[in-house]
Amino acid sequence: MTEHRLECPPSLDQETGRALLDQAHRLHPAKGDVLLLDFSNTGSMDSRGGAWMVAIAQELAHRHAELRWEGHQGEVANFIDLIEPGLETAETKHHREEGILEEIGGRAYKYAGEFWEFFNLVIDAIYWTIVGPLEGRGFRWGLWIDEVYEMGVRAVRINFLMNFLLGLIIAMLSAAQIAKFGLGIYVADAIIIGFTRELAAIMTAIVVSARTGAAITAELATMKVQEEIDALRGMGLNVAQFLIAPKILALLIVMPCLVALGMIAGILGGAVWGILAIGIRPENWFHETLLAASQGDIIQGMLKALCFAIMIVLVGCHNGLRVTGGSRGVGLMTTRAVVMDIFFIIVIDIIFATVVYYILDSSMTF
């Protein structure tokens, strides 16, 4: 081991402190070395200078070397006394390098834990939405009505607008392709099949997850952070019964209505383009639309709507209840919930497509 010695400047402040750290750096202290700071010429120091001294202590602790100081007197000695705990505890975190297996294992463990929590939430939610009320254990109809209004009635306009515009866009796109061949009337088929099977359900689910899903997460997360969830449980109230079940039942009612509205809006959007821009006569357009309409497609869209509804509420609640750490956590969890919603919308859609087109065959007969 060697002892390095550095002389401190007459006044240790932001600039001179940085220079001191650079000097300490250039000495390349090795394990077990000692760095001695000589304060005998130093008459003053401020808290920025003190911070640089802490930085030096951290640097040394990182290299397993030791920091000592001498010759401090008067004001400087008092100041060093004050910051001494900061110098001593400079290195507290040991960053242990994790092996790849360890990391994979750790993550798997974390996700398994999260999945288990989610599973429990699902069981609780099902119980309190279906079994609990049937057993006469109570259901909060007052909150249910509020939720239907908030989730449904207030989403009508935006949902109509989004689907209408999407209908318009799809009509534009397909018209650009097939109207060239004089087959513009078949755009009506594309619109109604697309909207009943897929587009209305997906567009509505996206609107709902951005409105309702985010709101659910933010609400529950805030309640958790502010000890409201604890307070409910402390009164012997069940969170699933009190908060989650009304939301699930509300969205189960609201979502099919919104999707039906979305189908109508999309078809209208397509019709506007078909009639005004492609120039098909209205009666022909609607005749073609009705010809292409199929009950099976509509049922498929509605079934998806129900799955999306359950998924959005559960993902929202799950993320809300998992929040840790204050207002920042609320924001993080809300973002996470919306991203998960969008992801699961696609996953559910893929499952439906596989089942309907490959397992049940495309000629689905209801």
Partner: protein, 254 residues
């Protein structure tokens, strides 16, 4: 009926990997005011949440009237929790309900009373804590101290035999804080309520305490009556009652 209402034995609690409570044992007797004191971050709230069944411990037992709440299923636990009142550090009022509806919440769920009686009871409980005029306000319209009191009103809504109260006087002015101490003493005298209170305030400790538990970094370092605490030989307890600072606050960083 036995004398012991709550009995905690060898309670060990973790948050993740961090040990927060290390083999804590104590008992709360019927009709007493039991204080939990100790420095900031030493685990007082955590102990309280375990005693009320809101968190489940790593190991150890918590017996409420002789029944171990760590072994209870959800329904039994909920039933036990109806018999206790809890007022939280950050009040725990439901922000989407008015103050009055917050107090009425447990009454509506379990009180089996008519709506008129509930309204009258809400008024009564709110006036006990000096908040009668706030019945129709939302929690967000209240000051910190008012929320504390509204939280207490909700905790005593069902006249529970025991009330757990996390830092009642933090954030109150001295007059209000001393009024709250009087209220706690009155409630015990009138309704026979047992209190478990987490607090920092020396004045209110001296005023209300029957017995005191002192925690330090998750360990019980003192348990006994107020007069024993004042003359205790435990260094940190003496330091607490004499209000002496640590040499370096930061050295106790955990």
């Amino acid at each position: 009926m036995s004398d012991t209402l709550v009995e905690v034995s060898d309670l060990v609690a973790h948050y993740g990997d961090t040990l927060v409570l290390d083999r804590v044992s104590c008992e709360v007797r019927r009709g007493e005011i039991f204080l939990i004191i100790g420095g900031s971050g030493c685990g007082k709230t955590t102990l309280l949440k375990h005693m009320t069944g809101l968190l489940s411990p790593t190991s150890g037992a918590i017996r409420f009237s002789g029944r171990d709440i760590t072994q209870m299923d959800e329904d039994q636990l909920a039933e036990m929790q109806r018999e206790i009142g809890i007022a939280f550090q950050s009040s725990g009022l439901i922000n989407s309900l008015t103050v009055g509806d917050n107090v009425a919440l447990p009454l509506r769920e379990y009180g089996q009373a008519s709506e008129r009686l509930i309204d009258a009871m809400v008024r009564l409980k709110l006036s006990l804590v000096g908040m009668a005029s706030a019945q129709h306000l939302m929690p967000s319209e209240l000051s910190g101290g008012m929320r504390k009191r509204a939280g207490l009103a909700r905790a005593i809504a069902l006249d529970p035999p025991i009330v757990f109260f996390d830092e009642p006087s933090a954030g109150l002015d001295p007059i209000m804080a001393s009024g709250l101490d009087d209220l706690i003493l009155d409630l015990r005298k009138l309704l026979g309520i047992t209190f478990v209170i987490v607090t920092h305030e020396l004045d209110s400790i001296r005023k209300v305490a029957d017995r005191i538990l002192m925690l330090d970094r998750g360990n019980v370092i003192f348990i006994g009556t107020l007069s024993e605490a004042e003359t205790s030989s435990v260094e940190r307890t003496r330091q607490f009652f004499e209000r002496r600072a640590d040499e370096f606050i930061t050295q106790r960083n955990v």
